[in-house]
Amino acid sequence: MAEPLLEVKDLKVSFRTEDGVVKAVDGVSFAVDQGEVLGIVGESGSGKSVTMMSVLRLINDPNMQVEGEVIYKGRDLMKLHKDEMQEVRGDEIAMIFQDPMTSLNPVYRVGDQIIEAILTHQDVGKPVAKRRAIELLQQVGIPHAEERVEDYPHQFSGGMRQRAMIAMALANNPDILIADEPTTALDVTIQAQIIELIDKLKDEFNSAVVLITHDLGVVAEIANEIIVMYAGRVVERAPTRQLFYDPQHPYTWGLLGSIPRLDRPKLERLHSIKGMPPSLINAPEGCKFRPRCPHAFDKCTEEPELRNRVEEHAHLDRCWLTVPDKRRLRDETISGEEAA
């Protein structure tokens, strides 16, 4: 098989703080191909955003330390000069941020912000760029785009702002679109619109999409592959159907079980994962999920490696339980019937 479009190899990101070293990302590897959607799922603080921000080298912190390789089209992005990186960013790899309220500049017109993105990377005149901006706004479903292009961000609703962000990200036909919780701040109805839009645009532009979210429901429909992150590590990585129908890690079970399901009878109580994510300064010894895991046993004090344990080769996980044990234990948690 050919080289994947983007390959991240053993990425490690740590921050020095007064209290100690925070290992935000600890050995994350994945790959994405053209026309594919990769879902990155995890709780706040699991390192999912930091992973993608450091792929784009967007974090500028003197206390940060990054290791690992990010191979994009045969080049290691980590080794590029600042100016070369600037050319890749926003042109070949674009990012949509979580909060559409704060990621647009409130004192510039929406249109001008999109035009700026075009002029930075393309050798065209302003009128051409403006026409392109209007076209983009139409493409993402903003009505009366010719007029709205003159609006300021505050004149847009939350859903429209997120669309404008997507339009801006698509301005230069990027190969890779990174969407960091693009729907978390939005209503469910608008969330459905945005997800459908990303799915449609992916086909139109043949881009690869990396979708970061804390809600497995959001990625169920559009992702090809999903990685589940916990405490800076990948705990499970699998093709989408595999992850939902044969999940191997107790944390994934917990995530699946905590979603109130409309497709199932109502439960007396929802399953919830006990406790909170661990501190990344003094992470627990061994398996990082051990303190919250109802199935932990002696062996868990030693950290399991991320490797294939089931029939499907592309399915990797980080758990010591045997596969038959997992298949026996998990249903209670996933269906949410287990007493919380």
């Binding site: 609703s157 859903g159 804390h214 497995l216 939902f244 979603i259 109130p260 409309l262 497709d263 919380a340």
Partner: protein, 371 residues
């Protein structure tokens, strides 16, 4: 959760309207009005949880705030334990504040960053002059334990807590005065799914322990189903459907409800592909100039001419299931002939004889059922 039963309602909202004036010019003349809540009537019984659902801008938060009288209604009445509280002044309201409390959506904005947790939770006790300093401290520590935090957190500041923990502090503050009614305004929307379920379970436990009545505001029908006995769906300031919780999911009558249901993501790839996805076009229209007739008509896929002209009344389809629509879904012909326009829009006037069973319109529902 315990269902509603006879007796007088704890809260009764009658023809409530809340308009916000838009003023312009030197003289600050009123040029238009935002129709945030427009003629809403319902009641909530003791021990019940009423879910209030709708998109941003539908008036659900305004309604919640009007009920606990953080806002004064423009017209209409709010009754609490049979007493009209809609026109009371702030002094007269003070004793009532002990009975009703609110939990806000944003756990970052709703706690004063310069106050310690102990004083945040203790301030309602202090205002109402309950207990001496020592007694209050004990009460606050007990409250912290009740909501799943530790008494040692008494002297910490809000920034030392995660989003889920802060929301627990907000709940403890609301509980401090042992209220009868808690309005929870999107209490879990800002939280991760795993923390969200902890929070929902906590609210459930507290309801049982303190026999609370909830008005639970949310935009996600998945979350609301889990906590509610009855659910009211709002659109542009109006209640468009009001129903016992499970019935709303089995047979939504209003097309807007159907669309809201189909927007809830299902964490099951095969079912998600299979189901009919109704994606609503555009945003909620401006409540300054709401659309004529049925306010949902510009986004409705069943829209006909009558929807543009005549506003559909809230109709009782039996068993406490009310909806306002010219083209009701999931209602059989027999029921259609028998239904009557509800007088008070409350389930009290439900026609017990009307038992809609067969859906009026066949076809795949918005939510497929897995085994």
């Amino acid at each position: 959760m315990s269902g509603a039963n006879g007796g007088d309602p704890l809260v009764e909202v009658r023809d409530v309207k809340k308009y916000f004036p838009i003023r312009k010019g030197l003289l600050q003349r009123e040029v238009a009005r935002v129709h945030a809540v427009d003629d809403v009537t319902f009641s909530v019984h003791e021990g019940e949880t009423l879910g209030l659902v709708g998109e941003s801008g539908c008036g659900k938060s305004t309604l919640g705030r009007t009920i606990v009288r953080l806002l004064e209604p423009t017209a209409g009445n709010v009754f609490f334990e049979g007493r009209d509280i809609s026109k009371l002044g702030s002094r007269a309201l003070r004793p009532l504040r002990r009975e009703m409390q609110i939990v806000f959506q944003d756990p970052y904005a709703s706690l004063n960053p310069r106050k310690r947790v102990g004083s945040i939770i203790g301030s309602p006790l202090k205002i109402h002059d309950i207990d001496d300093k020592k007694g209050r401290r004990k009460r606050v520590q007990d409250l912290l334990q009740t909501v799943g935090l530790s008494p040692e957190h008494y002297n910490r500041f809000p920034h030392e807590f995660s989003g889920g923990q802060r929301q627990r502090i907000g709940v403890a503050r609301a509980l401090a005065l042992r209220p009868k009614l808690i309005v929870a305004d999107e209490p879990v929307s800002a939280l991760d799914v795993s923390i969200q379920s902890q929070m929902l379970n906590l609210l459930d436990d507290l309801q049982k322990e303190f026999s609370l009545t909830y008005i639970f505001i949310a935009h996600d029908l998945g979350v609301v189903r889990h906590v509610s006995d009855r659910i009211a769906v709002m659109y542009l300031g109006k209640i468009v459907e009001l129903s016992p919780a499970e019935d709303l999911y089995v047979r939504p009558i209003m097309p807007y409800t159907e669309a809201l249901l189909s927007a809830v993501p299902i964490p099951d790839p095969d079912l998600a592909h299979e189901r009919e996805r109704i994606v609503l076009e555009g945003d909620v229209p401006s409540p300054i100039n709401p659309p004529s007739g049925c306010r949902f008509h510009p986004r409705c896929r069943y829209m006909t001419d009558i929807c543009k002209e005549v506003e559909p009344p809230l109709v009782d389809y039996g068993r406490g299931h009310l909806a306002a629509c010219h083209h009701p879904l999931n209602v059989d012909r027999e029921t259609l002939e028998r239904v009557q326009v509800s007088k008070r829009h409350t389930p009290g006037s439900a026609d017990e004889e009307a038992r809609p069973q067969e859906p009026g319109r066949a076809g795949a529902g918005p939510i497929p059922r897995s085994g």
